[in-house]
């Protein structure tokens, strides 16, 4: 057995971030920033470019440029101005994800899911919105079938529906195929991908050229991650 395990572990622990560009221009995902953008859109399909830029600390122009490249190479698919990873979601749900990516929607959905029967008053407080704005957003969520509303005396209360749970469940086989397709594609691009971990919600792969290898963690559960931690 070769020696040096301790030193190697020390390096692995000390590594800050995983972002390194790979040599050559062979694949879209050779670029570290582009991997971040791709990962972000797996987490929140159809996210707004301004949110992508803000959350990843890059300019909107940079974020847009990377999404175009990913789109051109088939890693992303477009629905109007919004983009999502090809094959990760049902394309018919692009509108749903675009709605969830608009300001306040995910927050109100998460609050409703955490506190079923939450009043409109509480919802608006939780999301720092006026009653009118909260009410408008709830009716949008209702249109997509994500919440239902009941009158309780002078209160209007919001309840989550089971729609997203059903969609999430139904998406599992699509996510499996997406993960397999991604690994296959990286292989075809000569990046020798290794599948390191496949858990329920994520895929961890390592790939690269020669001795330079990078890690990519791909979230595979968009019907949950697009909104769940927003509250």
């Amino acid at each position: 057995m070769p020696r040096g395990l301790g030193r190697a572990l020390q390096k692995a622990v000390a590594r800050e971030g995983l972002d390194e560009d790979l040599e050559g221009q062979g694949s879209s995902l050779s670029n570290a920033r582009r991997r971040q953008v791709f990962r972000y859109l797996c987490l929140r399909p159809c996210a707004r470019i301004s949110d992508v830029g803000r959350d990843l600390s890059m300019s909107q122009a940079t974020a847009r440029w990377h999404t175009w490249d990913l789109l051109e190479h088939g890693f992303l698919q477009a629905d109007g101005p919004r983009m999502f990873p090809s094959g990760l979601i049902d394309p018919d749900d692009a509108g749903l994800f675009a709605m969830l990516a608009s300001a306040g929607r995910a927050t109100l959905l998460a609050a409703t899911s955490e506190s079923p029967g939450i009043s409109f008053q509480e919802l608006s407080e939780r999301a720092h919105l006026t009653r009118q704005s909260a009410s408008k957003i709830v009716s949008e969520l209702m249109q997509f079938g994500l919440v239902s509303v009941s009158e309780d005396g002078r209160y209007r209360r919001a309840y989550p529906t089971a729609l997203l749970a059903r969609k999430r469940e139904a998406n599992q086989s699509r996510a499996d195929a997406f993960a397999e397709g991604l690994v296959r594609r990286l292989g075809e691009e000569g990046l020798s991908p290794e599948l390191l971990r496949r858990s329920e919600g994520t895929l961890l792969i390592r790939f690269g050229t020669g001795p330079r290898r990078v890690l990519l963690e791909v979230p595979l559960d968009p019907y949950a991650t697009a909104w769940m931690r927003a509250a």
């Binding site: 301790g6 190697a8 020390q10 390592r206």
Partner: protein
């Protein structure tokens, strides 16, 4: 399963011969109970056998642990450090849970099959890094499962809360570990009493009792009253084997019982009498 020597005087017989290779041991105890001393003895023993040692510290700094080892008289630690056979990793203040999820799988893929001894001291900050108990279980379980592939792992765990180890922070790692050693320190007396108990040890016939121990300069933890040299006696199983022949029972039952007595010693029966066991067996199979 291969046994490796623990490096703690008197501990191997209590663990049925030593620590199982590629297993995870959790050593739990309050501050000052001797956890880091035990961990250092474990690593140092491996170094003497030519195994690499890795000491991942999530709390105290490297200098303090090395100083304490040198004060204990274990100056050879410094040479092992110079030769990089022993590596200290100061992971305090780092997002160790991120490391476990992302970097650890890649590391294990590269080093699978190694026989290093790895200490994580203490495991407690890893538990604190995630809030949800389900997530804690997932993280610790994953960490144990992966690190076992590159060596034999010993984690220390700070004891908080109830003395019977039922606090949530201790239950999860104790449940997931292969072996759990509890170091008890009774400091209320003028003369502090130290006790070591093996709470569990998978695939081993471990000692059920609490054993007094001392920490002695130069030697470290020394457990009292352990007689590891005495050969095991098999009086109870052979008597039981004789008794089985005198009673009537289905042949397949007798055959399987006789087979199950192979390899058992008196220590396994802990005072149970052969006649007592025979009565119970007969009751079970009466009319069957």
């Amino acid at each position: 399963m291969r046994k490796i020597r623990s490096g703690v005087y008197g501990l191997n017989p209590l663990l049925d011969g030593g620590v199982n290779e590629n297993s995870t041991t959790v050593v739990i105890g309050r501050s000052g109970a001797g956890k880091t001393t035990l961990a250092t003895q474990f690593i140092r023993r491996g170094l003497q056998e030519g195994q690499e040692g890795v000491f991942v510290s999530l709390d105290e700094n490297k200098e303090q642990i090395i100083r304490e080892a040198v004060e204990m008289g274990w100056t050879d630690i410094l040479e092992y450090l110079d030769d990089e056979l022993l590596v200290f990793i100061d992971a305090s203040g780092r997002e160790f849970s991120n490391f476990i999820r992302k970097e650890l799988p890649a590391f294990v893929a590269d080093w699978k099959g190694s026989t290093a001894r790895i200490v994580v001291d203490p495991l407690t900050p890893v538990l604190w890094s995630v809030k949800d108990p389900y997530e804690q279980r997932d993280l610790i379980g994953y960490m144990f499962k992966e690190t076992r592939k590159v060596g034999t792992v010993l984690c220390t765990l700070e004891e908080h809360g109830p003395a019977d180890l039922t606090g949530p922070e201790t239950v999860i790692p104790m449940y997931l570990a292969d072996c759990v050693v509890h170091l008890k320190l009774n400091s209320s007396d003028a003369d502090p009493a130290r006790l070591l108990k093996i709470v569990k040890c998978r695939n081993s016939r471990h000692s059920p009792g609490s054993h007094p121990f001392q920490i002695i300069r130069g030697l470290g933890i020394v457990i009292q009253g352990v007689d590891g040299g005495r050969p095991a006696t098999i009086k109870t199983p052979s008597q039981l084997r004789q008794l089985l022949l005198t009673r009537s029972m289905p042949k397949n039952v007798r055959d399987s019982l006789e087979k199950s007595l192979d390899g058992l010693t008196d220590a396994d029966f802990r005072g149970l009498k052969p006649e007592e066991i025979l009565d119970l067996i007969l009751q079970e199979y009466q009319g069957a």
